[in-house]
Amino acid sequence: MVSRRRWHFLLQLAPLVAVALLWEALSAAGIVPENRLPPPTHVLGGFAELVTRGLPPGSHLLGHCAASLRRVLAGVAAALVVGIPLGLLMGRSTRLRTLVNPFVEILRPIPPLAWVPLAILWLGIGDSSAVFLIFLGAFFPILLNTVAGVLSIERGLVEAAVILGASKRDLFVKVLAPGALPATITGVRIAVGVGWMTLVAAEFTGVKSGYGLGYMIMTARDIQRADQIVAGMLVIGLIGFAMDALIRAAERRLLRWR
């Protein structure tokens, strides 16, 4: 007997499979020309080549994935290290909030990609500029969500802790940070999503090590292999999905008390 969980999972896969079959059929019938949108079979072939031969030839898919993931994780980590403490402090101090808010409000709407020329000018075309761009994209959701998280903590909780003898440090570490955690995690989810998208586009502009999923797709574009472009896109989408799922699982564990 198929377990409930597995059945649910299969049910979610079904529409994807149906669309893939339809797509294949439309392509085979010539309704969708292969050079506009390669059918799933071609895409799978392209994917196989990405894994075995690699694109550019010699640079394998796994290497590209690893390079991109490394950059995203570094950028998000940097955003956490700067964003969470600053967010906690800003949440607690109205004065600090008023001071920092103007900068945040002006910088936040600027899409990370608009920073590309400056990033390359300041940091060159290596990993640092990519990580910087991801940091920019990831920082604001983490900061703003953490601030909101602190503000959402009931005043009574903070007062009770102070009365029980909490030092400033105790307050931040044992009350504000855990209290803001649900909001912070939401911020992290958003940050990882934005960071991942920014990364791939940032890699379009060139990458020194020769590895990166955006770089790989750009190469596929240069040599006009639509099947590999689509295969690359799917890989990017799947990895993004996996990262989000991981965060959601971590969230469920960390916030069991809710």
Binding site: N35, P56, G124, I125, G206, I223, Q224, R225, A226
Partner: protein, 320 residues
Amino acid sequence: MKRSVVLVSLSLFLLAAAAPAAAAGEKLRLGYLRSDLHHLAAWVGIEKGYFKDEGLEVETAGIFNAGAEEMSAFASKGIDVGYLGMAPSVTGVANHAASVKAEALANAEGSAIVVRADSPVRQVKELAGKTVAIPGYGNVQDFLLRRALEAAGLEAGAVKIIVIKPPEMITALESNQIDAFIAWEPHATKAVTKGVGRVLIPSSQIWKGHPCCVVAFEGSVAHDRPAVVQAFLRAHAKATAFILANTDEAVRIGVQYTGMDEKTVRMALGNISYRTELERAPVREYASYLGRLGYIKETDPDVIVRDYLDPAGLVKDARP
């Protein structure tokens, strides 16, 4: 110089003889690459009214950053005729990305490997272990670099190859991110006039007379409107002849369309060979190179040549 003039006139004559008059006011959508001096003939044709003289209403429908982009425009039938690198157009045809027919050459040579002005590198051989930037994989420049390395006895892996857009290559060279780059004019000359770089070897020395950019038509246009194609090619030949005979004005038009300074354009012009006859052998060689490197799906070079070069016999076979 003289031989080119003769050849161009010959082609002109032959085309004129073979073609019926084109219908008046025929619309054509044109594409070319941004700031690519190789496409000067197109700009001259527009400025001097040569297309109009042939009864063509040529509208610039796209100015692209890369040949691959232009091929996408062909695929979606957004342009009818384009000036672009032979490399991306052959690649696209070999990968079934678009149906495109190359009818004439736009230029030959006109690229160079550039190192930093103070670099100790004097020969290609000394590039071993260094970082060299190319405009993109599968480009003519990619091919030229590999040929240069091969000729110097180096394997392709001896050099670290990365992809950077040509406008950013000079900054990258200046700030030491790369040790050398290979790009089309005027970027190579620009590095020199800016004092940042020095030409290590021009492409004419890597592969003498190598074809660079072509005039290509979207497949259905080539098939359905042969008279228009021929009219365009006549105008193109005239424009090419003009460039060869009127350097000063050619430079002026080049400055106008690239936005670069006159000194750079003039110098760059000297490195480009403007010719119109398209030969089968180099195309075949290029196609087999792509196949060897694994960039394309179709690996039989003759099939590619057949799909790519205009079958109407306008192509001259190179006879020794």
